[in-house]
């Protein structure tokens, strides 16, 4: 099959200094300079991946395996220590829902803010405004502050704005598990549409049945490295087997 790639990432390495308890405060930085010790934790180590157009690509792995870091690198919000990323197409990222939204403001203003944040011009947001609101089914609530929305309403509005970008490439991080059944069906439909138009979806999830069903290929990240990459069913099965083993050993 000779399909064209949508994302080509080569040899991505990202290391962090441990941040949660040990922020790089001035004092510690000076101490580190003096002792020339720089503790780092590898989040990704030499990860390469090629995602094709029209493909749904899953990323699975335990917490802290580097899944979200990889998505951030593909979204180009995190510059890797080394390695290259090439993305061919218009990317919409849904690593979190409602990015750029201000809960104090009305849904109307947040559509504008979210659209501008994602890279649209104001004119484009204005043109798409009706479509966005209709799709989110929020005509009644659009002039109310977003802080009064239910989580489902919030998710619908955020998803509609992200889809209004008309992306070729969608990067998702476990966000569509929110909302009611009809919203999930709707977002699913939007994603299938995107794939049918030779779009690309990269998808981080812990919901393994969804991954198996929805994705063509899956990457299993384990401790910053690619453990396995290939057919969705096979990789998910191998991952499940490895997760179950230590539990049996405990008993």
């Amino acid at each position: 099959m000779t399909r064209r790639p949508a994302i080509v990432a080569r040899d991505i390495t990202v290391s962090f200094r441990p941040t949660v308890d040990r922020k790089p405060t001035l004092r510690r930085s000076i101490a580190q300079l003096r002792h020339k010790q720089r503790e780092t934790v590898l989040a990704l180590s030499g990860v390469s991946v090629e995602v094709m157009r029209g493909e749904a690509f899953g990323i699975i792995g335990r917490n802290g395996a580097g899944k979200s870091t990889l998505l951030k690198v593909l979204a180009k919000t995190l510059k890797p220590d080394s390695g290259t990323v090439n993305v061919y197409g218009r990317t919409s990222t849904l690593l979190q829902l409602g990015v750029g939204f201000n809960p104090e403001l009305s849904g109307r203003r947040n559509v504008l803010l979210g659209g501008l944040a994602a890279g649209l011009r104001k004119r484009e947001v204005d043109e798409k405004f009706d479509t966005i609101v209709s799709y989110a089914e929020l005509w009644d609530a659009i002039d109310r502050p977003v802080k009064t929305y239910s989580s489902g309403m919030f998710a619908r509005l955020a998803f509609s704005v992200a889809m209004a970008l008309e992306p070729n490439i969608l990067l998702l991080d476990e966000v569509l598990a929110v909302g009611d059944e009809s919203f999930r069906a709707k977002s699913r439909e939007a994603m299938e549409d995107l794939l049918a138009r030779a779009g690309t979806i990269v998808f981080v999830s812990h919901a393994l049945p969804v991954v198996t069903e929805f994705c063509d290929r899956v990457m299993w990240l384990h401790e910053a490295e690619v453990r396995q990459l290939g057919d969705a069913g096979e990789v998910v099965a191998a991952y499940q087997a490895s997760v179950k083993k230590p539990q049996k050993a405990k008993r």
Partner: protein
């Protein structure tokens, strides 16, 4: 083509590309600023009018404390005009700095999720502050005119270069502090104290002539403070005080250098910013 021109050309085209990207995001910067102001005033009755009330109250309080109660004027005839010119200008710098730092820390989600030139965020803080400052200049004469009899004169066009230089200066400083405060959060706690000290060592509350009685050496040290020449340009514009060519040269030099340094440092390696938030 010699080899030394190649990196230079690459640098120039890099800067041009960055500026183009930044310009493409101008609507985002503007609406982010507007959204912030609206959100902050969403639950107040007066809403956006606070943009004008804030400097009015600020000016009123300082005029009362330092002009009436402490009677600090010492040889400055139009003390209220002098005080408010300095105070409004100082608060502009202050608000750009604080806004720039907060814009990065409060918009962590935006930074983690979306790629865009990061200078958009302090830029948005600058827009917010600049509108507030222009509003305060608008009401300057409303306070100062009736009290001190100071009205716009022939030097008022100097406001434009003053505002331009001062904006470069403040934005450079804001970008610098924002860049440093992301990995070193300690700075965030320090900034208010530094600003307070800076206010007191600048010729805002006390007249420049006040220093003539100070201990030897103090004046020479304090005059390194870039706000001396910058405030001199404002006071020339607003109240017709004398301005020397030296002041203009020093103010311009500080402004341009600080802008280039601060913004340059911010933009360089801005891809690493996401790691710290």
């Amino acid at each position: 083509m010699t080899t030394s021109t190649v990196p230079l050309r690459r640098a120039i085209s890099g800067v041009r590309a960055y500026v183009r990207h930044l310009w493409n995001r101008r609507e985002f910067a503007f609406h982010l600023a507007l959204g912030n102001v609206k959100a902050r005033n969403a639950s107040t009755t007066l809403g956006l009018i606070w943009w004008v009330i804030n400097p009015l109250l600020l000016g009123g309080i300082y005029a009362l404390v330092f002009g009436v109660i402490l009677d600090i004027q010492r040889g400055e005839e139009n003390y209220i005009a002098y005080l408010l010119a300095g105070m409004f200008a100082f608060y502009y710098t202050r608000s750009v700095m604080v806004g720039a730092v907060n814009s990065i820390i409060q918009n962590a989600r935006l930074l983690a999720n979306l790629p865009f030139p990061r200078l958009v965020l302090p830029g948005s803080a600058l827009i917010e502050s600049a509108v507030g400052f222009v509003a305060s200049l608008g009401i300057y004469y409303l306070i100062v005119g009736p009290i001190d009899g100071v009205w716009p004169g022939s030097t008022v066009w100097w406001l434009l270069p003053a505002f331009l230089l001062h904006t470069l200066f403040s934005f450079g400083l804001g970008a610098l502090v924002a860049r440093l405060a992301v990995p070193f959060r300690d700075l965030n706690n320090l900034v208010p104290y530094v600003l307070r000290l800076w206010l007191y060592v600048s010729p805002v509350i006390w007249p420049v002539t006040f220093l003539e009685n100070a201990r030897p050496g103090i004046q020479q040290v304090l005059e390194w403070n870039p706000l001396f020449p910058i405030l001199a340009v404002y006071r020339h514009a607003l109240m017709g005080q004398t301005l020397t060519g030296g002041d203009v040269v020093v103010a311009s030099t500080w402004s341009v250098l600080l802008f280039l340094f601060g913004v340059g440092l911010f933009v360089r390696n801005e891809g690493r910013m996401t790691r710290y938030i």
